[in-house]
Amino acid sequence: MKELRSAILMLIVFTVLCGGIYPTVVTGIASVLFPKQAGGSFITDTNNRVIGSSLIGQPFSEAKYFWPRPSATSGFSYNPLASGGSNSGPTNPDFIKTVGCRVKTLQDSGVTGSIPADLVLASASGLDPHVSPEAANVQIPRVAKARGMAEEVLTTLVAAHTEGRQLGLLGEPRVNVLALNLQLDLLK
């Protein structure tokens, strides 16, 4: 009985400590040191209205926008309430067919040549905000035509929105699609 009493009291003490005090302290410190990150890295427009998060991708399908990677979230793509991947197996016939359709959509939109894999394969989170620079570049002719802009302008814009490796070493070079499209809309 003595052990049982200790077990119950230990549970209570550790719940207060690790489940109450610790997360509250972390929240407090985080809100002072990194308020923007702790809050969700939201992007605001000139009127200070939240228009998205730089970490959470959004769906785009119109020709005038750069398209993000396919997303397998349920409901609709890039649904932040249902993060997750497709979990399609590599040999699943439905999966192969889906990829074939995506390739065709891209080719119909004017993409020629070999297609970068990230543009037709769904991400793990379903919210991946990035595409590879190459995947952005193959879309330039389409976006340029839809907006009546010169391709060179877009090439420069994509280059300006390409993030390098972190600390010059970690991860992959990448383009934030939402940020790029927001910039495009500002240019008109």
């Binding site: 052990e3 049982l4 200790s6 077990a7 230990m10 549970l11 003490v13 400590l17 690790c18 489940g19 109450g20 610790y22 972390v26 985080a30 809100s31 040191l33 990194f34 990150q37 702790a38 809050g39 969700g40 939201f42 228009i51 998060s53 959470i56 991708g57 769906p59 119109e62 926008y65 409901g75 793509s77 890039y78 932040p80 309430l81 249902a82 993060s83 997750g84 991947g85 979990n87 399609s88 197996g89 590599p90 699943n92 016939p93 990829v99 070999s114 297609i115 970068p116 894999a117 990230d118 394969l121 991400s123 793990a124 989170s125 905000p129 070493l169 970690l170 991860g171 992959e172 990448r174």
Partner: protein, 595 residues
């Protein structure tokens, strides 16, 4: 692998190796009750805590009492968490008004978090309130990790102590593990993760307008909220437009860090460590892998210090590194060459299905081997979408018993059980007395080691077999053919070894997997833990046998290689038939064009 990736991986292992010694010796001091730099702050808290809980910190326990205290504590934890999940709708900090868990899901989830498994048959963002995540799941992430560490410390004391039945005090070991090791590291790690963009707040979910509205097919539901189906059984849909989305919030960083550090692995969100709010940058990714391997790696040094010969610890670490780097290389090789079935479409690049772009491929692969070599089970890529042989790597790492760094505590105690077996078998082969660390290995130790090693394997094979004969279990598979078998095998492997990652296409939230999975998690956690404590009890009572000419040295390279071989042979003998029917069959069909 490009040169950046090579540099990233090399840098990772250098940093890890640099940290092993300072953290390992610090942990040895903590568990031996010596003074550390945190003592001025923590000792008063520790004393107060013992007084509040009615624990006598100087009291020693024999193995039975130690096991009893552990079991009782875990039982209390389970009851509390089960109740919390069933009553979620009545508890505070639930801005989204999420309902209670169903009983089968609550049972599975409560057992999952108490056993350090963190198998999740629910999605965090749509099922768990902030209160559940914080006061429930986060707490269990701490104490289940501290429990695993306590058990391995008791085993090490069994090797070190002579002619006594006492192994230490469970409450003290568990408390020290949390207060001196897990909490301080988590506090620093959490702030670091926030700096990278991991969120940490109590706000309600945020509604954000979409730049481009999108139309989609929405499933129609009846008055009760169940999906409507037409006469053929297909879901009925209607066209809908999304103009805004709801982004979930929450105290993520404080849970994210202990999820990795305590090799728990339960994601705040469904996408786990692939979610940008759990793992926003390549640096946060690097740090999360580091946190997964940090304590299991450093415990080998703690072990070395406590047994009085750090080379014993380095030898075990060498075995772990060899197996980890070996499996990483295979995974990197198969994933970087992409999916051959997609070559027909003129696609180039690695197998990016189920991977996020901001992490390098090598980084992602390192995460996947680290999370399955240990009992972590967090994922930054979807294992279900790995190539057949790529997917076999995490599966095999789990099936080997999670000794490659392994879970905090549980990894090292399983590794020590393997070492006992390796010593015994080599003793038989070369006619030397089986001794390990100055203790004679006899019938009791062999029995307990075998129970420790084989419990999970037997559980996996039997339950997967039952699943194949159960229609509701088979219909839960998401992918057809051999891959479906891999999904089921992975599910039971993950649960019985307390990993928690998944081939997540499998619909695990059905009674079959919730209930049999709970059984697998219980067997896989407590049978080995109690066997290890029993072995510790028996070892502690033995006298010390000084090494002689007839003793096999266990701190040298030949023993490391031998131990590696024993681990691989036991794994291959147990699981080769099952693996041939799953991933290997799928691979052969794929390259043979039989899909």
């Amino acid at each position: 692998m490009n040169s950046y990736e090579l540099l990233e991986i090399s840098l990772f292992f250098i940093l890890l190796l640099v940290m092993i010694r300072p953290l390992g010796s610090y942990m040895a001091k903590v568990y031996q009750g010596e003074r550390t730099f945190l003592s001025p702050v923590v000792v008063p808290c520790e004393k107060l805590l013992y007084r509040l809980c009615g624990v006598d910190g100087d009291e020693e326990m024999d193995w039975k009492r130690y096991a009893w205290a552990m079991a009782l504590f875990n039982l209390v934890l389970f009851v509390a968490l089960f109740a919390m999940l069933m009553l979620q709708h009545l508890l505070p900090l639930n801005p989204e008004k999420l309902p209670a868990f169903t009983w089968a899901l609550a049972l599975n989830t409560a057992i999952s978090f108490v056993t350090n498994t963190n198998w999740q048959a629910y999605s965090g963002e749509s099922a768990a309130s902030y209160f559940t995540q914080m006061a429930g799941l986060t707490v269990h992430n701490f104490v289940s990790a501290a429990t695993g560490m306590a058990v391995v410390i008791a085993l090490i004391r069994g090797f070190v102590r002579r002619k006594t039945s006492m192994l230490g005090n469970f409450w003290v070991d568990m408390t020290r593990g949390t207060l001196y090791i897990l909490l301080p590291l988590s506090l620093i790690g959490a702030i670091f993760l926030v700096s990278q963009g991991v969120i940490q707040n109590f706000s309600s979910y945020k509604t954000v307008p979409l730049v481009q509205e999108i139309t989609y097919d929405k499933a129609k539901v009846d008055d009760k909220g169940d999906p409507l189906k037409d006469v053929k059984g297909n879901p009925v849909t209607e066209s809908a437009t999304a103009k805004e989305v709801t982004i979930p919030m929450g105290p993520v960083a404080s849970q994210e860090v202990i999820k990795e550090l305590g090799t728990n692995g339960g994601g705040f969100f469904n996408a786990n460590s692939a979610h940008p709010y759990e793992n926003p940058t390549p640096l946060s990714h690097f740090m999360e892998i580091f946190l997964i391997l940090l304590i299991p790696g450093a415990l080998t040094y703690t072990f070395g210090v406590m047994v009085g010969n750090t080379r014993q610890g380095w030898t075990l670490l060498g075995v772990m590194l060899l197996l980890l780097i070996g499996s990483f290389s295979v995974l990197q090789g198969v994933e970087s060459s992409g999916n051959p079935l997609l070559a027909q479409f003129g696609i180039h690049g690695a197998n990016m299905e189920g991977k996020d772009l901001r992490f390098s491929l090598a980084g992602t692969n390192l995460f996947e081997v680290a999370t399955t070599g240990t009992s972590c089970g967090a994922v930054s890529a979807m294992h279900d979408s790995l190539t057949p042989l790529g997917g076999m790597i995490p599966l095999a790492l789990i099936l080997l018993g999670e000794v490659i760094f392994g879970g905090v505590g549980s990894g090292l105690y399983t590794m020590l059980a393997f070492a006992v077996i390796a010593v015994f078998v080599s003793g038989l082969m070369i006619g030397r007395t089986p001794e390990y660390l100055g203790k004679k290995i006899e019938v009791q130790e062999m029995w307990m080691s075998i129970v420790t090693i084989l419990t999970a394997g037997i559980t996996v094979l039997i339950l997967s077999g039952i699943a194949m004969l159960t229609p509701s279990a088979v219909s839960a598979m998401a992918n057809p053919g051999a891959h479906g078998l891999s999904e089921v095998l992975y599910a039971f492997a993950s649960m019985a070894n307390n990993n928690g990652s998944a081939f997540a296409g499998l619909n695990a939230n059905v009674n079959f997997y919730n209930i049999l999975g709970s059984l697998a998690m219980l067997l896989g956690r407590y049978v080995p833990a109690v066997a290890v404590l029993a072995m510790a009890g028996s070892l502690a009572e033995k006298k010390y046998v000084p090494p002689s000419l007839g003793t096999l040295p266990t701190d040298k390279v030949p023993f490391a290689l031998w131990l590696t071989l024993v681990i691989l042979i036991v794994g291959a003998l147990t699981f080769f038939p099952a693996l041939s029917l799953g991933p290997i069959a799928e691979h052969l069909a794929m390259v043979g064009g039989k899909i």
